[in-house]
């Protein structure tokens, strides 16, 4: 899986979560709104029912007043008059309450206005009727009662109250319908919202499962890759080891076989040298007999140089020079071959890790180079050094090479100051051998570690093997080495070695 795809997937999941959250918020909001709507719908319904009740109460009180007035007319019982008066007293407050309850509806307000007028007329009629009875004017009262019963006031009150009741019925049915709608809407919103949430949850689960599967797959692949990597590394290591061994064998055989012809070249060159002696003695004696001058006695031994003149002398010198070059070249070649042989032999030696008192080891080396140091007027300072577990001989070779080099390449006329320092860091011991000698040009820093390569003025004997050998040893001991130096400002060689080197001899298994 590419990083891009991973990022896209993460963004998708965040978006999904956000969508789910939004849906939940929307559902909650809608629910709250709808519940409020339902409450107000219900309040409207309740009010409509109440208004109807009030209309009934009003009409009831009017009827009560009417019937009690009539009964009073017939019996003249004062108790009935009291009833009538109590009923009349409730009519207007009832009407006012009805007016307050329906004040929001202009149609009902209109109705109330008319109703109030009719009711007031009716109340006046009641008052007049009661007055007639109190004045014993029974005839007028009877006539009035008859008129009123069929009169417009009673009729209008009945009609108006019927109209109001109808209006309230209408409102009631409207409000019930609205409440139904609201409830349906609420359930629809809830169902849709729940559905959406479930769908989102489903998608989330699917995505999570898919990414979990992808992760499991990736993990399995990683494990497999790790295994493969390990086997690959093992294979490569084995290959490298084989190649290294082969190179070692090759170097050994080549250097070994090169020696045989060298013996011949050297041998026959020496034979040639002897022949040269014979030839030139012969030439000398011939020259002498020609010039008839018995200069040297004939008993001159073989080793004596024959006396030669002019061109013969020149010839003899040329001969000697040529032979000299051949012999010095052979000697050099022999040294190189010996060096390679020693190096390969060293490469085949098995290292033994032992506890090493580093300071003691360095002091021993310093004591062996004391003479050279005195000649070069050099002081060697050994600072506190960490002890390590490593191969003793290899350590000796490493430090004696470095100290030798430091003494060898001091600046003439300047007393040498050599320092051997040490410290530890993260399981490694870091050693530094520094001097104030002639230094090494930075462009030669790599070169000096190459076999048979040297840097700077070639005024000291050497084959260019020491540092190559040291670096090979350091590497075999599981360490690294580096140099920091500038021309005329001394050099510092830094060697990092594991403090506890476990013998991982590269050529042990082969």
């Amino acid at each position: 899986m590419t990083p891009d795809a991973t990022r896209r997937r993460a963004i998708g999941q965040i978006l999904l979560l956000a969508a789910g959250f939004l849906v939940l918020v929307a559902i909650s909001t809608a629910s709250v709104l709808l519940v409020n709507q339902t409450r107000s719908d219900n309040a409207g319904i309740v009010r409509a029912v109440e208004v109807e009740g009030m209309i009934s109460t009003l009409l009831l009180q009017i009827r009560r007043a009417e019937s009690s007035a009539r009964a009073y007319f017939m019996t003249s019982d004062p108790q009935l008059l009291t009833d009538h008066e109590a009923a009349v007293a409730t009519i207007l407050p009832n009407l006012e309450e009805l007016a307050r309850s329906t004040s929001d509806n202009p149609a009902q307000a209109q109705h109330i206005k008319q109703l109030r007028a009719s009711v007031e007329v009716r109340l006046q009629e009641f008052a007049r009727f009661v007055d007639f009875i109190k004045g014993n004017d029974k005839a007028s009262a009877l006539a009035m009662a008859r008129d009123v019963a069929t009169g417009p006031t009673v009729k209008s009150i009945t009609e108006l109250s019927a109209a109001m009741r109808a209006e309230e019925e209408r409102l009631l049915s409207l409000r019930i319908a609205a409440a139904d709608r609201t409830q349906q809407l609420a359930s629809a919103v809830t169902i849709a919202g729940s559905g959406l949430v479930i769908a989102l949850a489903g998608i989330s689960i699917f995505l999570v499962r898919r990414s979990a599967n992808a992760r499991d797959g990736a993990e399995a692949m990683l494990r497999e890759n790790n295994l493969n990597l390990e086997t690959t590394v093992d294979e490569r290591t084995a290959d490298l080891r084989e190649a290294n061994d082969e190179i070692q064998r090759f170097a050994y055989i080549v250097s070994h076989d090169l020696r045989s012809p060298l013996v011949n070249i050297m041998g026959f060159t020496s034979e040639l040298e002897e022949l040269r002696g014979d030839i030139f003695r012969r030439i000398a004696s011939l020259a002498r007999t020609q010039s008839a001058a018995p200069a040297a006695p004939d008993n001159a031994t073989d080793s004596a140089e024959p006396v030669l003149e002019g061109a013969d002398k020149q010839l003899s010198q040329d001969f000697t020079e040529a032979l000299g070059f051949i012999k010095s070249s052979i000697a050099k070649m022999d040294r190189l071959i010996t060096a390679i042989l020693n190096l390969t032999r060293e490469g085949r030696r098995e290292f033994q890790p032992v506890q090493i008192d580093t300071r003691e080891l360095i002091e021993t080396i310093v004591s062996t180079v004391a003479h050279q140091a005195a000649e070069a007027e050099a002081n060697i300072h050994i600072e506190p050094l960490p002890d390590i577990v490593s191969d003793r001989l290899a350590m000796e070779q490493i430090f004696s090479n470095l100290i030798d080099n430091a003494l060898k390449y001091l600046r003439p006329g300047i007393p040498g100051e050599l320092h051997v320092r040490g410290r530890t860091k993260l399981g490694f011991a870091i050693f530094e051998v520094s001097d104030n000698g002639r230094g090494i040009d930075p462009k030669d820093h790599q070169r000096i570690f190459d076999l048979f390569r040297r840097a700077g003025t070639q005024d000291k004997p050497g084959q260019g093997i020491g540092l190559a050998h040291v670096r090979a040893l350091v590497r075999r001991l599981g360490g690294t080495m580096s140099v920091s130096s500038e021309l005329n400002h001394g050099s510092t060689f830094t060697i990092t070695l594991p403090i506890r080197w476990a013998a991982t001899n590269r050529n042990r298994e082969s």
Binding site: H256, D257, R259, S260, P261, L262, V263, N264, M266, G267, F268, T269, S270, E271, A331, D334, I337, T338
Partner: protein, 146 residues
């Protein structure tokens, strides 16, 4: 050497063979030297066509042996010589370029009498061979077992 001892020189490098012969002669040894440049011929001469070595019964031999031969290693020849009833008393001088300590040890274990590493430096080489010649002139070599 008093009795007529034959020197068998097994050396693949003819230059070396020549230098060795010259320097032995210079030390005053005049015995017959039979040179071989490969192992096969030398083995054929030493052990005869039947491989028993019977042909040399009663002869006194001294063997100069190089280890690096083109067709076989000198160590094989050394082993066969030392295992052979007629030849096992013949002194074997291993003269080779190898100075590997394992190799040297092995040769002595197999019964080599002398092991000499050829010095590359010719003065040392010539000196070593002359001294070997002087050594040849004084040692006693038994005749092959009867």
């Amino acid at each position: 050497m008093s009795n007529p001892v034959t020197i068998i020189m097994i050396e693949d490098d003819e230059g070396h063979a020549r230098l060795i012969e010259r320097n032995i002669r210079r030390s005053g040894v005049n015995n017959e030297i039979i040179p071989f440049t490969n192992g096969t011929d030398a083995v054929k001469y030493l052990f005869g066509s039947d491989g028993s070595g019977l042909a040399h019964k009663g002869n006194a031999l001294l063997i100069l042996l190089d280890l690096n031969l083109p067709d076989m290693t000198g160590i094989d020849i050394l082993r066969r010589v030392k295992e052979n009833a007629y030849l096992k008393c013949a002194p074997v001088v291993v003269l080779t370029t190898t100075d590997d300590s394992q190799e040297i040890k092995r040769c002595y274990e197999l019964g080599a009498n002398v092991y000499i590493t050829k010095p590359v430096n010719y003065e040392s080489f010539a000196n070593a061979i002359r001294q070997l010649g002087l050594f040849f002139s004084v040692i006693q070599v038994p005749a092959a077992a009867t």
